[in-house]
Symmetry: C2
Subunit: 525 residues, 2 copies
């Protein structure tokens, strides 16, 4: 498939006139063709207008039509074949196996949301039947369902060119909810974005949906991105990226005449707490497992373990020795973009320059451009508590070990943390009482609490929470991974005393869609 | 019970030192004793610290303990007896029957949330069991529940001194969710607030809960209110009041280092659409019913019908004639406060001065202070569309009829509206096709759509939505009335691979709490 460098707006491909965006192969520094001239106000206007026009029809598509649309997107992405993997490798520096896995995850995610749409739990149907004889006042017939919020802007993420970009989790959950989507492509992988965008365009046509259900724009975040978030026809925003980027979108969204929700997944250092018995029993093994998680994908995961909390002593030394050895053996890996590599270098330099953090080990130096050298540092608990800078995320495979004097110290460090996506306990049976004391803190601080695993690797399922208190995300009430992500794009509407002919099908007598309903507060499965 | 004029902080009653707040009897202008010296930073600090200390213990109370606490609050409020009604009448000017009904609603609401807590739907339990044999990768055990957000600030509302104040819907739903609550009393009914606050204080003690579960502060919104919203230990805000007040709280909440959700129910004019066949068949009857809804409680309801949309002609004239006669016969009623009365007078004066709105009728003039004279005005659709000022809420019993030329005109007017709590269709069988075309617009614009009723009167049940797009509320994804209001104060947490002994009880194998669970995406009732 040849790439055209155009904006995909509704069923059209349009050549814009702004400064051209080029992918850059981070492994070679090579500039990739074609250029994608950036869009501007005209493209934003057209995409938002089409999305708005499509909204009422799309949000009322039946479960089967909407589900098969999501499945068709997955089919169309698979139909691109190896071209997609080759282009994504060139634009991201990520290895083939990782991208093939990510494609599988992307298509699996779309198909999961198709199941979710069909099951209808997301409608949250509630029926309180009329009670005409009730004293002192009768009750009228009241029914509730959820409807789509409106057109959604999704920002592609640099670190998941497939699973959190054009047809990624935000897009899949917004489309599942009944929201048209306008994607702002991440400038790091424009060609990958075009390929996936054309797959969605094809699926829209195949399923006879209004063209405005999907558009894909290229341009700068400051111009096109902000203009999209400010547009009155846009009703929600999905974003995965930096804290600076996410908070800028939050500001714009709040300053609108009608403020809208922003779901920004931003910053997390994912603390790992090594409990005393586990550390004693398997310190060296934990050190190796930890570094495997730390260096996976050059550490470019939101759930990368950037912080270890443990009590100092010979058991921690065993962990540190094993981890140091693993770090020293860790090969340099190409990072996603020159910008991310620069930010990583400056983050590590900041740790190295701090008189509070001591270097434990560095990984192998790279030979090519944009390569990430792994790093491990250690700091004392009281220094960590006194210096907020030690808590800043270093995006990449560098981590900080906080050496504590006691379990109380560990708790204090955990309590001091900002909001996190994950918190991990490495523990054995003998640690269970101590772990129980820590749990309330970890629950308050993180969206996902895990035992004896590593935070990298996020299962796409119903119980997943990829979310957490600020600044992990802008909205702790939500998840951006898993089926519950659909709830971000819905709002409840109550229908009072509507004749059956006017009621949405899901709310009619006899439950024609066969969905789970709460009737008079009681669950009818 | 004698009133002391003190702040209720945890289990203490504390005399503050700020400027004293006095209730004023709006029917007489009389200043009521005692004065309530306003609190300041010291009281805010103490209440927030106690709430924070109580949080972890309170949010893990079992369903039975928390439910019986809510029921005890209702019992204690009833035990105050007539003193509560007498004081609330003096502070609000509302009649006895209305306040007795409101007390019933308040206690009913608390008992409904007790049932909700016991039923456990709010936990939204999801379990994805481990799949150790899955290829290419096994799945770990993943379980999700919802936990309380943290301490919540609730602002008492002027227009529901019981049902939306100290122990009103926001407090009941936050306590049900497991959040300690700090109430900022509305300055219009300090004595009523003290009586109810002491009832909650007594219930906290009777149920052996940590004292910080509840505090009640008096003071200015600009000082005490803003300081509470800015406090880092506060994690959400419930508010019912003016648009200016709500947006000020939203700004403060967003400007915090950790932004928090604000649930502000602010401004709604609750359009009523008179469909042609209904208007033809029963125009005069509709005019009478409309004015009964408009003048109920001096129009001081969030759901007061402030806008009527219909096609002009003899059928609308019949409606207007009947409505005008009813308005002219409407007795003057005492408004809640001098400030609300002033705002009403100025809102009506604005309509009267507009060359776009024509007076149809005015109600009877009052003889006492702070009395509200009902009003009905009419404007042409094109003038309404051209002048945003005509869309401003006039809080009180004045409404505007928008005269349209066609159904398309009606649709355009509806489409032009800001977000609303409610939208009402008055329709007959012959209107069903026209109503169906309007429905998508009404759904997008309002939280509750009703047929052949009037918007005043909000049932407290499971299917209710008292919410809607901005500026009706600050967060269209929620409701502030009904059992779903509990979801405002919860966030999901995922537990990965936790041993049974560490898992929250609701997530353990065997479902010991007997709650509805989503297992592998399938509902188990």
């Amino acid at each position: 498939m040849s790439l055209e460098g155009k904006q995909l707006i509704g069923n059209q491909a349009v050549l814009a006139s702004g400064r051209a965006i080029h992918g850059i192969n981070p492994a070679t520094g090579e500039t990739l063709e074609p250029g994608y001239p950036g869009g501007g106000q005209a493209e934003v206007e057209r995409a938002c207008e089409l999305a708005w026009q499509a909204f009422d029809a799309y949000r009322e598509t039946g479960p089967e039509q909407r589900a098969s649309f999501l499945e068709t997107i997955a089919d169309e992405i698979e139909a691109i074949g190896d071209d997609l993997i080759v282009r994504a490798m060139a634009e991201s520096g990520l290895p083939r196996a990782r991208l093939e896995g990510e494609r599988g995850r992307t298509c699996g995610q779309l198909r999961l949301f198709a199941q979710v749409v069909r099951a209808g739990e997301w409608l949250d149907v509630r029926i309180d039947p009329a009670l005409p004889e009730r004293q002192p006042l009768p009750r009228v017939d009241l029914r509730q369902r959820h409807i789509a919020l409106g057109p959604v802007v999704v920002f592609g993420a640099s670190n998941f060119p497939l699973a959190f970009s054009v047809a990624g989790g935000d897009t899949a959950s917004a489309l599942a909810a009944g929201c048209p989507v306008v994607v702002k492509a991440h400038s790091a992988h424009p060609g990958t974005s075009e390929l996936v965008g054309r797959a969605i365009q094809a699926a829209v046509a195949k399923r006879d949906l209004p063209e405005g259900v999907f558009s894909l724009l290229y341009g700068s975040g400051r111009e096109v991105g902000q203009a999209l978030v400010a547009d009155p026809r846009i009703k929600a925003v999905g974003f995965t990226g930096s804290r600076a980027g996410g908070t800028a979108l939050m500001k714009t969204a709040q300053a609108r005449p009608e403020p809208i929700p922003v779901y920004a997944e931003m910053s997390s250092i994912n603390p790992v707490l090594l409990m005393p018995e586990a550390l004693k029993a398997r310190g060296a093994e934990l050190g190796q497992g930890f570094v495997a998680s730390l260096t996976m994908g050059a550490g470019q995961f939101c759930t990368n373990p950037g912080l270890v909390i443990a009590i100092k002593g010979p058991d921690l030394d065993a962990f540190l020795n094993a981890a140091a050895e693993a770090v020293r053996g860790a090969a340099a890996q190409t990072m996603l973009t020159p910008g991310i590599h620069d930010a990583y270098q400056s983050g590590v330099a900041g740790l190295a320059a701090s008189d509070k953090a001591n270097e434990v080990a560095r990984g192998q130096q790279g030979t090519g451009p944009n390569q990430c050298q792994a790093g491990l540092f250690v700091a004392e608990a009281q220094d960590f508590l006194a210096d907020e800078a030690l808590q800043a995320e270093v995006f990449g495979s560098t981590s900080l070990v906080v050496a504590c004097s006691s379990l109380d110290d560990m708790q204090q460090v955990a309590e001091h943390l900002e909001g996190q996506l994950t918190a991990t306990l490495q523990m054995d049976d003998g640690d269970i009482d101590a772990a129980r004391r820590l749990l309330p803190t970890l629950e308050r601080r993180a969206g996902r609490v895990m035992v004896n695993g590593w935070p990298t690797g996020v299962e796409v399922c119903h119980a997943m929470v990829h979310g957490g208190p600020y600044p992990a995300t802008s909205d702790a009430r939500t998840t951006s991974v898993g089926s519950a992500a659909i709830y971000r794009f819905l709002r409840p509407v109550c229908y009072q005393n509507l004749p059956q002919a006017l009621l949405p099908e899901a709310l009619r007598d006899g439950n024609p869609q066969g969905v789970s309903r709460l009737v008079d507060g009681k669950r009818e499965a």
